[in-house]
């Protein structure tokens, strides 16, 4: 058996699985999307139909905000956790990364416990100001849920990247007179660029497509996954839900590609 044949035989299972469980359903989805009363124009509905477009914008803004907030929080926490040794550090890391295993429903439930009608924040604000603050069912509740979801993943990536940073770079910058802020700005953050792009992409894609949290919280929030779900199960509008699904995928992918190419120069330079 030649070397080349051997590689092909090793790849065969992957090819079969990809074809059976990825390409075929995707092709089917594409076909269903175009097979409704609107025909191929169903694919444009996500942009042309005002209700769909508003939902799309909502979803993208929410996902972008989640990504930015997650990166900021997780970078600060990740830098600190990787660089400092203190009692309880291991416990803290375990706690921060604990939600990794939670399904969206549980995260939604936690948000309700925190900021729902019977929630902790409601009880406290009611006691202090006399007015009960409830935001679990608003877009802010969803934002909080997504943060909860994304932070663990991003923290782990950032910590791994920080560990690989050459501490000599920071010492060199300091010896040249750079203040701690300047060191972060000129040395640490550029070096973490690739990690930001990678983990930010995952946070963004997760927030675009997260369903469980939205489903648990959603009384009055419109995000794309929810829209697809309602079109599919309640309105039985298979063509539109298929077209929306494809649209969700394409738009998330396009935004990530854009972010990657914009940061491309910086990432390449930092590598």
């Amino acid at each position: 058996m030649s070397h080349r044949n051997f590689i092909w035989i090793c790849l065969l299972p992957l090819v079969v699985v990809t074809a059976a469980f990825f390409l075929l359903p995707m092709a089917q989805l594409l076909a269903v999307g175009a097979g409704g009363s609107r025909g191929v124009s169903a694919y444009l509905a996500i942009i042309t139909e005002p209700r769909y477009r508003a939902t799309l914008i909502n979803t993208v803004v929410l996902a972008a905000a989640t990504t930015v907030a997650t990166l900021v929080i997780a970078t600060i926490a990740g830098l600190f956790l990787q660089r400092h040794r203190f009692p309880g550090r291991a416990v803290l890391i375990a706690m921060l990364t604990f939600p990794l295993a939670f399904p969206g429903v549980v995260v939604g439930f936690l948000i309700i416990l925190l900021a729902g009608r019977q929630g902790l924040i409601g009880a406290i604000t009611a006691a202090v100001t006399g007015e009960k603050v409830v935001f679990a069912y608003s877009i802010f509740g969803l934002f909080l849920g997504y943060l909860y979801f994304s932070i663990p993943r991003v923290i782990l990536t950032v910590m791994a990247a920080v560990q690989k940073l050459d501490i000599g770079l920071e010492e060199a910058a300091r010896s040249l007179g750079a203040s701690p802020w300047a060191v972060q700005r000129d040395v640490v953050l550029p070096a973490l660029g690739p990690a930001f792009v990678a983990s930010g992409a995952i946070a963004f894609a997760t927030a675009m497509g997260a369903f469980g949290t939205a489903f648990t919280l959603a009384t009055n929030i419109d995000v794309l996954p929810m829209l697809i779900y309602t079109e599919f199960t309640l309105a039985a509008n298979f063509a539109i839900s298929a077209a929306l699904s494809i649209g969700l995928g394409v738009i998330a992918w396009a935004i990530l590609a854009l972010a990657r190419s914009m940061s491309g120069g910086a990432v390449a330079a930092a590598g």
């Binding site: 010492e171 040249l176 007179g177 750079a178």
Partner: protein, 353 residues
């Protein structure tokens, strides 16, 4: 500010020891004075505390309580590195990968608020000084090891540091490049007149670069002296053996003579001692006819190295002696020879256990 390097500070280190939080004593309390403009080399085997000492001077480590670091009589012990105005060259070079060569060299000036025109002029000056013209707009990953080393040096010198600190800057390079850069670095340091502290474990590097050498061993200073003093007058067996090749011989000393199995050696004013230890450098031993010498032995092996030949002579001392002989004399293994050594070439060392 004077000259291309600016002002070199005199450095005074007082009782600086370092015990790390895990209990490792990397450095026993030591004191050291570095004259303005001098190149001082810290030399010693791996793990002897050279880097720790350098980092204390830089301000990257704080010395144990009681230790002080002074630049020009000003106490710097509590001053953080970013305000010490030192230049550092790391073994890994630690060049910023997100900046070009020119941006790397100009970084310290930019941070200190030097305006763009003055910065460009200074960068150009450094580029010329370190011979890296044409590389200004390259990224760091497009440079060879030797070029990186030059950029690291240019970056450290650009800010006119009060003290230049170099931690094994040539170790990562291959041997021939290392030799060339070593002599380049040497003339650069001389022309800059900068105060420099240079860490290495390579004794040839230490000899060539150092005005003075501090030989370190296990976190303590074994000897401080000029290269000649360190080489010809080592104060203990460790220094004798670490710097250059050394024959260590043992025997009783009486009335100015060291008695060895193969005869005796005349000494310069040595006290009587029943069990003395002495050092003889291989190149100070002359090969003469057996009849003309007071010390004799048998040639065990001859290795022709080109510029000289290295003999191993047995029977003369308690251990085989290494002799660096001229490449012109004709000796063969198995031959009996006489060994001539001047009294100045025999260095009696203090007894150690």
């Amino acid at each position: 500010m004077s000259g291309i390097a600016g002002h070199g500070a005199a450095v005074h280190i007082e009782n600086c020891g370092k015990t790390f939080p895990d209990g490792t004593q990397a450095l026993a309390p030591a004191s050291l004075d570095i004259v303005s403009g001098e190149t001082l080399v810290l030399l010693g085997p791996s793990g002897c505390g050279k880097t720790t000492m350098l980092r204390i001077i830089a301000g990257l480590e704080t010395p144990d309580a009681g230790g002080r670091v002074l630049f020009d009589k000003t106490d710097m012990t509590a001053v953080p590195i970013e305000q010490r105005h030192v230049g550092m060259v790391f073994q890994s070079y630690a060049l910023f990968p997100n900046m070009t060569v020119a941006e790397n060299i100009g970084y310290g000036l930019k941070i200190r608020g030097v305006d763009k025109a003055a910065r460009a002029a200074r960068v150009a000056e450094m580029v010329a000084l370190t011979n890296i013209g044409g590389l200004e707009n390259r990224r760091i990953d497009q440079l060879s090891g030797g070029q990186r080393q030059r950029v690291a040096l240019a970056r450290a010198v650009a800010v006119r540091p009060r003290v230049l600190l170099l931690d094994e800057p040539l170790t990562a390079l291959d041997a021939s490049l290392r030799d060339r850069l070593r002599s380049e670095l040497n003339s650069l340091l001389r022309s800059l007149g900068i105060t420099a502290i240079y860490v290495t474990h390579d004794q040839a590097e230490a000899m060539e670069l150092g005005d003075r050498i501090v030989v370190m061993r296990k976190g303590a200073i074994a000897q401080i002296g000029t290269p000649r003093e360190i080489y010809f007058a080592p104060q203990n067996r460790f220094v004798a053996e670490f710097v250059g090749a050394a024959n260590i011989v043992e025997g009783p000393v009486a009335s100015g003579r060291l008695t060895l199995p193969g005869g005796w050696l005349a000494l310069n004013d040595a006290a009587d001692n029943a069990a003395a230890v002495a050092m003889i450098r291989p190149e100070t031993i002359g090969i003469v006819a057996e009849a003309d010498a007071f010390l004799r032995g048998t040639v065990e092996s001859v290795a022709f190295i080109g510029d000289r030949q290295r003999l191993v002579v047995t029977g003369a001392a308690n251990k085989p002696l290494t002799v660096d002989a001229p490449n012109t004399i004709n000796v063969r293994a198995g031959e009996r020879v006489g060994l001539s050594v001047t009294p100045q070439a025999v260095r009696v060392l203090p007894k150690e256990d």
